[in-house]
Subunit: 324 residues, 2 copies
């Protein structure tokens, strides 16, 4: 079964999910956010991981859906907290309805995510739910740290990596671990897949930070420099602040809190110049490579023939837009 | 083991719970709301139910705690939605911190509630989590209906009973069912306990509505007529509106949206007069009695000697402040 067939199976499972009917104010927002789409990368990782150990991935379909429902629950609640107007180019739930609706519909989504895991074989259920719960709490911790960092003057690179690990990476790691556990994979293989996913997740987020500044505008689909304009403490910004001399530091600081579109071009240009002086692009690429190599090291350690691991390896490379 | 010893065991379990440490912004509000106390009625029902079937209730302690953590999660999120300034006489979490904190800490509480159930014996785990999840979703549905009703002109008595069943009663029912299941009670006994709890829950909420108008001010601890002042659609109000003649209806409607303290006494007096004319007090007492008798009928149907059921029966009577 190739990746396209898996995707189709997954999409079929997702669109067949029933969250509830009444009251409609509670359930319509769930159907709305789930219909916004997205790359469905997390549930796909569950299935690809499962497929490494057993071609028959039927029993991984609902657990894969659980991960996607959980992910969208976090988006629904994060969007309230971040006051985000748009999600995937459409109105966010709290904008289209209101914050109360987004709170309560999100709560039910978390419940439904757990329910989708309850079909897991009895002897694996407690373990799966324990790991899922740990991951869920970590994702919340990551979101809290992200909000804390916005209000803080100083954030270290180490703290930043810890935050994106919790907020973004651990759910990718869990997705891969879940697929392995469902198919009865050896514990060490499941753990290596978890570590592979965590590290790919970190690399992926760093790459996101990088592309925001150095990405191809047409390819990336977002405004170049959006993070700079909104004073976001990304890996690039934190590295620059750590290494800047007094003048460079002053340049960055002088642009802070200026977020108006009219000065956007000047601000992005000025901060990018500092980045260029400090060779931030290259340093970030090195870090991405470091985490990616760590990830590959864990993939290599899995006790399976190379060809069984090639699809996941390929997907990771594709996420990184790399050739090898 | 008497009810006081059970309560002590329960309080010990609750105060020994560890929710997490970092970031403290996420976990402090959880410790705060859990320390506000309350009657702990739901976890106590879990233990009393468990004790009916087996004196050794050790294995029910963490599941009982799960129910209390879940209940406090719903309070934390409901208080945001209801813009409530106080909870048990103290600042609500969204007031003491902010709404984002209350959203995210609440989310983690729901995760922790699930985690506290994961020690349930393997062969019972899926069932327990399925019933818990169903109950959790129902409680959210009840809160949504409650919010809907605030904005609606017309609400039928039937719809109101449905709402309080979901919002309040089903968690009492689940608590009792949970205790029975954990001790391996026969399915029919667990189901009768669930029905007993649901009906006691409805009766209890109706009694709450009644006491708000006809309660002894000193005993009840709240301002008499608070529901009338805030135009709350209680059982009493909805029954009155259904049975009022045109003049009585106009009296009630003329006071609507007048919530200032300066007119409080006059408003409460005027609406209570209409209630008195329509004999609403007696009708509500009849309804409470109806649901209470339904509850007792289910308790009687449980296949255990009478003395095993006397503590729960006594507690229900106590909740109703009845002698028999």
């Amino acid at each position: 079964m190739d990746i396209t067939t898996l995707s189709e199976k997954l999409n079929h499972t997702l669109s067949a999910l029933r969250y509830g009917e009444k009251p409609k104010e509670l359930y319509e927002p769930i159907r709305y956010i789930m219909a916004l789409g997205g790359k469905r990368i997390r549930p796909l990782l569950v299935l690809l991981s499962a497929k490494m150990f057993d071609e028959d991935v039927e029993k991984a379909l609902l657990p894969a859906a659980a991960v996607e429902v959980f992910h969208n629950f976090t988006l629904m609640h994060d969007d309230i907290m971040d006051k985000a107007p748009l999600r995937r180019g459409q109105q966010t739930v709290h904008e289209k309805w209101d914050a109360n609706t987004a709170i309560l519909s999100g709560d039910v989504m978390l419940v439904r995510a757990y329910e989708l895991l309850l079909g897991v074989e009895q002897d694996k259920l407690a373990l799966v739910l324990r790991l899922f719960s740990r991951t869920a709490a970590e994702v919340c911790e990551g979101q809290q740290l992200d909000m804390n960092f916005e209000r803080r003057e100083q954030v270290s690179i180490h703290e930043y990596i810890h935050m994106i690990t919790l907020k973004t990476a651990v759910l990718l790691g869990f997705s891969l671990e879940l697929g392995a556990i469902l198919q009865g994979a050896p514990k060490s293989d499941a753990e290596h897949l978890k570590a592979f996913g965590d590290n790919v997740g970190i690399a992926f987020q760093l790459r996101d930070d990088l592309l925001d500044v150095y990405g191809d505008k047409d390819k990336f689909g977002k405004q170049v420099g959006g993070d700079i304009l909104s004073d976001k403490k990304t890996f690039l910004m934190l590295t620059a602040l750590e290494q800047a001399n007094e003048q460079q530091r002053q340049t960055i600081i002088s642009w802070r809190d200026k977020t108006d579109e009219s000065i956007a071009e000047d601000k992005v240009k000025a901060v990018t110049e500092v980045y260029d002086q400090l060779n931030i692009r290259h340093q970030t690429e090195q870090q991405i490579d470091l985490y990616f190599q760590k990830a590959i090291h864990h993939l290599d350690a899995i006790q399976l023939p190379k060809e069984r691991k090639s699809t996941i390896r390929g997907l990771a490379l594709q996420l990184m837009e790399r050739d090898s």
